[in-house]
Structures are given as C-alpha cells and as structure tokens.
C-alpha cells in the first residue's frame, strides 16, 4: 500500500513501522532509544510524528506505529518540532554533558538551560538500550530499578553482579556514554566489578574478559584461538573478501 510522508508517496507493507519506511527512503527522523538490533522501545519519544487518518490527527512514535492503512505522516511539522524541542530540552537537563545531547540541543536552537533542574554526573536518559542489550545476550546483569523520577539502571543491590561477564555491550549501545568502563593494565572495570582481560591470539592486545570468552565459546562453539579482537577479525574478514575477489578475477 502507499502512504504519504511529508507530501511524498511511498510504498509500505501492512504492519511495517513508519520509522522503517522513512529510513528506507532516507527520510530522517531522530531517534535515541532505537537501534536496528534493538528496535521499537518507544521510550525516548524523539521519533514522534503526526499521523493523519481520515479526520483523526494524532501524535505517535514512528518506531512502534504499524502502518495499517493509507495514512499521511508528517515527520517535521511545526507541532512536532515544538514538541521535539521540549523533549530535547528535558533530556538535555538529564544528560547535560553528553555530546549526543549537545548536538541535538544545537540542532533545536537550545542554549544553556536556565529554568530546569540540571542533573550532572549521570548523563543517563533511561533509554533502556543497555538493559535490552544485556537481556538479549541472556545475561540479565542489569535492570531498571525504582520507578517514577527515581528510576535508574543498576545491578541488583547496586553491588557487583555475579552474572555480569564484563562484555561491555551495555556501554557500547549507550547513546550518552553514561556507562563507565575503565580499562588499564589488562583489567576492565564496569558496574563496580573488575575483570582480568585476555590477549587477542592474533595481535596480542588485551580485548576480552575470561567470562566473555567462555560465553562466546559456548554460543559459537569456536575454539579460543579463533576468537579474535575486533580489529583482527575485520582484517581477517577483509583478507577473506580479498581472496574471493582474487578468485573471481582469476576466472
């Protein structure tokens, strides 16, 4: 079916999310708590758009609104921009030192905050990606705790988690750099727990915790010497691709 986004018609599948249709067609809608691998949480509300359906006109989050009819979508109307600006302002007060938020502030013409209470030192905007990532891996070391304005992300009892493997996936997906990872002298510290790092079998650089290595082994069945650091993995993949091209060229 066809839907209209900002005046242009686009092809969409029944049940497809507006955001996916937009992204496919290079229409930019800002998102924060949305990643290809961890989609549709609907927490940050940055991806709001206006949907016009018959006489109804409403604001929805594009990451989780399924296309079910021939709707018209406005991704950047004045109304939306005004609300998004407010959301950015609210987020910026919670994560004032994050580069990501500074960029957004600039984009929405926001200057230094004067009226809101600004919380420094945390920079967490509770987008939920870290918890989702940890759960997707099947580790369940962290979760949201409390509710309302005291909600935060934490390990149980704010103690070093027994099950954490120190993989750092939570920090990797965090858009505001709020999860602190310290790495030095072959050690990694995250969520108050310190892990010994093992070297890459190829280049010798420390890159993985023993717990994570065991986890990857169990998941993939790879021998430890085949588990490489990201750089070496990419190089290896590059070499393989090179071989493939060579093969083609030979023929």
């Amino acid at each position: 079916m066809k839907i209209t986004i900002d005046g242009q018609k686009y092809e969409a599948q029944y049940g497809e999310y507006i955001l996916d249709v937009a992204r496919r067609n290079n229409i930019f809608i800002p998102t924060l708590c949305h990643l290809e691998a961890l989609p549709g949480q609907g927490n940050c509300r940055l991806c709001i758009v206006e949907v016009l359906e018959g006489k109804r006109r409403r604001v929805v989050v594009s990451c989780s609104y399924p296309v079910k009819g021939e709707i018209e979508v406005l991704t950047n109307s004045e109304r939306i921009r005004k609300m998004r600006k407010n959301i950015v302002r609210l987020l910026a007060a919670a994560a004032p030192d994050s580069d990501f938020m500074k960029e957004l502030q600039k984009e929405y013409g926001l200057q230094g905050e004067e009226r809101f209470q600004v919380t420094r030192g945390e920079d967490c905007i509770l987008c939920g990606l870290c918890v989702r990532a940890c759960e997707e891996l099947g580790i369940y070391a962290i979760s949201t705790v409390n509710r309302g304005i005291t909600k935060k992300v934490s390990t149980p009892f704010t103690e070093p988690s027994e099950v954490c493997i120190g993989c750092g996936a939570c920090a990797y997906v965090c858009p505001t750099g709020s999860i602190k990872v310290k790495e030095e002298g072959g050690k990694r510290e995250i969520w108050g727990k310190t892990f010994a790092l093992l070297p890459c079998p190829s280049c010798g650089k420390y890159f993985i915790t023993r717990e994570e290595l065991e986890y990857v082994q169990a998941k993939t069945g790879l021998a430890p010497e085949k588990i490489l650091c990201e750089k070496c993995r990419q190089e290896q993949a590059g070499r393989k691709m090179g071989d493939v091209f060579k093969d083609i060229a030979m023929k």
Binding site: I48, I87, L90, R147, G148, K151
Partner: protein, 611 residues
Amino acid sequence: MVFFKRKPVKTVLVCCGTGCLANNSLEVYEGLKKRIEGAGVRARIRPVTKATGCNGLCERGPIVKIQPDDIFYCGVKAADVDEIFERSVLNDEIITRLLYRDTSTGERVKSHRETEFYKRQYKIALRNIGEIDPASIDDYMERDGYRALKKVLTSMSPQEVMAEIEKSGLRGRGGAGFPTGVKWKQCERVEALPKYVVCNGDEGDPGAFMDRSIMEGDPHSVIEGMLICAYAIGAEKGFIYIRDEYALAIKNMTTALEEARKRGFLGQNILQKGLNFDIEIVRGGGAFVCGESTALMASIEGRVGEPRVKYIRSVERGLWDKPTVLNNVETWANVPVIINRGAQWFRSIGTEGSPGTKVFSLVGKVKNTGLIEVPMGITLREIIFSIGGGIPRGREFKAVQTGGPSGGCIPKELLDLPVDFDSLTESGSMMGSGGMIVMDDTTCMVEVARYYLQFLAEESCGKCVPCREGIKQMLGILEDICAGRGREGDIDLLLDIGATLQEASLCGLGKTAPNPVLSTIRYFREEYEEHIRNKYCPAGVCKELTEFYIDIDACRGCGLCEQKCPVGAISGERRRTYTIDGTKCIKCGQCREACRFGAIKNRGRRHEDNH
C-alpha cells in the same frame, strides 16, 4: 382456625465497610449479635444480624439499620447496643438521639431515605451495598442476583447480549468512558483463543473509593457482570486485579468466588448450559500506574507494571497477547442490571451521551462526605450543595477536583455544569473513576497542582521521557512557586511543557498528568500570579508565603486559638484579644480552622514591603 398476622422478621444491618470499621463498628456488630443470639429463646421474633458493606455515609459511621421499619442510626457506639436491642429490636421504639440529623433542615429523620443525602441518589451499581451481607450468596440472589446470568444463558445469544449492552450506551466507569458494548464486540470478532475477561479493581485515584465499596459490599455483582461478558465473547478465564491495600475487598471477593463455585455459577458447564468460566484474584503490588490497562496486564503476567505502546489494542492483544476485555469494577456491577431491566430502561436514566448513573466519592471540604450514586447529567451544584450539604464552617466554595491526578479543578463559575463524560472533559478535567474532592477558600490551587505532580512523580513508571522528565521539571517549578521562588515566565513554561506531555507521553498516565496543572492555571491564573509576583498565597497554605494575624475587630477573645496552637505562638487575654507571634508560628492553620469568628487572617509576606 385463627391466623395471627405474624410480625415480619427484623433484620439488623450493621455497616462493616472500612469507614465504619475504623469507627469500631465491629464492636457494635458483635454486641448486637450477642444480645440477639443470647435472647433467642425468649424473643418472639428472631432478628437477623448482618454485617453489610458500605452505606456511603462513612463520615457518620458506624451505621445501624433496622428493617423492615427502615430505621437509620448513625454514630452508634458500643455503649448504645443495649438500648438499641431493648427499644428498637425487641420493641418498636425509635431512639431519636441516634437518628441522622439532616444537614439542610437540621431535623432528625427516621429513615435514611428521607435525607437530602439519599433523596437525589439513584442506585444501580450500589443497589445492594448496605442492604445485603456480602458473604451471603443467598442475600444476593434474593435481590435478583444471578438472574441476568440465567437469562442470557437460557434466552439470549452472545450477539444479543452484546447488542443489548451496546444499545444501553454503557460507557466504561473507570474514567475514559469507552462504550462497553463496542469493546466486547471488538474482542469477540478477534479469532485468537483463549480470550480473557479482566476486572480492574486497582483503584488508585486518591479520593476515590467506589470500587472498594462495591468489591467489599456486593462482590457477586462484579462476578455476574464478568460471567455475562465471558458468555458473550467466548472467554473461559477471568482475573480480578485488586489493590493489595484493600484487605476486606480481597477477603469478601475470595468468599464470593468460593460461594459462586459451590452453586455452579463458576466452573465447568455453568448451569448446565455448557459455559466454562472461572475467575482468579490477583493482588496489586501497590503501583498507581497499574490502573492503566497495559500496565495492569503486565502486572498480572508477573512483571513490572510498565505500560506498553498501545497501537494494537488489548481487545486484540491484551493479557499474554491474547484478546482481552478489561472493564472496571463499577462497569461490571452495572451489567447484570442492564440485562435484567433492558437497555431501554437504562437509557431512560442519565443523559443521551452518558446514560445511567455514576458513583462518586464526595469528599473534602463538604458537610456530607461519602459515596453517592447519581444520574448522569446532574449538576455539580446539586451534588455539592444539595447532596453534600455545602461547605462546612460557613466557608466559601472554591473548586471541585474530579478525575484524580488525571483530572482537574473546576471553579465555581462552572457549578451548573452537568456531570457527564463529555462536559467534564471539555472543562479541562475528566470523569476519572469518580473521586470528587471539594475545596474551599483555605485550599491553595497551586499547592493542589504541586500535590498531584508530587504524587505522579512517585507513581509514574518512569519509562518514557516526557512523563518522567516532564513531571520532574514541572514539579520543580511548582515547588519553586510555592516557596516564593517563582519567576516570570513560569506559567507559560508550565503550559508549554504540559502540552508536550499530553501529546507525546506513552500512556494515559503521562498524557493526563499535566491536567491538574493546566486546569488550575486555566481557572486560577491570578492565584499563580499572586504567588509569583507578590509572594502571597491567598489561601494561606504555602508556608513561605503566609503570615497569619488576628483581626482584633473580629476577635472575641474566646481563646480557642491559643488552645489549638501546637507551638504556643498565640497569647492574649480572655474576653480581650489575642496575638500571634510570627517568629514562633509554623503556619499550620489550626487556629484558623478552629476560630468561629473568622478572625484569623493571612496577610502574606508582602506586608513586609508595605510597612
């Protein structure tokens, strides 16, 4: 043979709702029961003692009713038991001193039906409350209980049931007012199985307690309503989600479910008509947000009660992603009556757009507080002044709050507003579950807005940004205003952020969260401005912006204020006059509450500039 006209058996009904229990009604109940049972041999008649659910007039509890004469005693104490037994149970005398004194006429009336409080009411959802023993299924059945179930099972098709409910125009009593019949039809149409029927008994609006009273006082009406829906949509399993704090409601509902199972109203092949349905109770975990349907379902599933994005509705994908009908307690209690008496009859009550009645808990600064059930379309004025008897201590009406934290404050200019779903929404408030909190001139509207946001700051699930961060910042600004740190531009900022919350929040809690702020700004903007510009709280509530003094012209020197002052800030001489020591005063307002001459006044902090 001579037939003696036998005197009808007397029934002594002792209210054992939470309100009366707090006033020791259990002692009264036990006392009367002991006397009646003890005297069984010599008494010609054997009265029945019943512990009933709430009569609504909780403020005057404990309440004892004696049928069939319809004698209504209130404020009964254990010490009155003997006298009641001797005079009104064994004999037919009336004890005048225990009768209810009407607030409008000042006269003692024999039956509660004669009082202004009850006269204008029309009971459907509360039809049995206070009249039956909630633990007795026979009591319920004597008053047409389970007749509607029999009717639908023997003579109506599921389609006919849904058509009847739709035709009645019944709208969800939980607050949003969605047409109940339409909801059932939407769910019935979905092909997936199993289907679920859920009762929302997680009454969380501060100031509302109708659902508690129904579950405590007439649990079978809820069960019967759910059974009828189960038959209509083809569900086999139901859940009643009850607030954990409602101990008595959980107890009475549990008993009712057991009784219903014993009589074959729940279980397999109900009434031999092939219907299979059973109900389980789930205790709430103490989270206001669980009143939101998707959060409630998450909680039933054993998870944290966070709402989910609701672009696919619960009738399609609800509990465990299966089609689910969720209605609130009061809605369910209406269903059997509609089936018994017909949609036509139901439509004859209330208004075109909102047929039937609504239960309200009328509380706050009003003479008669309690539960009332009135036809939709009645005006606020009638409720507050005729039923509620007006404002106590001769103070002035200021606003009425409806809809709890999702609602707003309605000012006196709108007192003639008819009460129905649509007019309340138009006024910037909402029906909500039916809390109606009356406020007088000693209630500060800015502080009320601050109070609700404080509530929501704790009760928001904290998942989505506009709700969590928006409430936090709005609360901060309101706290500033109440403490004298308000700034120019604050009001517009509150309006701006509030509008974003209304549109961009994930669930109903966030979308309605700004209502208390927006409605008070709409109707009481000057009060905000007084706080911000003049650092003055006209109601004398915000402590930083209040300074009480005694108006020497009005003061009669009775000394009551001095007695009431908890910190000894008031001194003076009897029959002359008193003064308040501003350095000691903690601005609790107890002196003002106590003064019968209106001599305690508030000049705020602004006088400091003037003098």
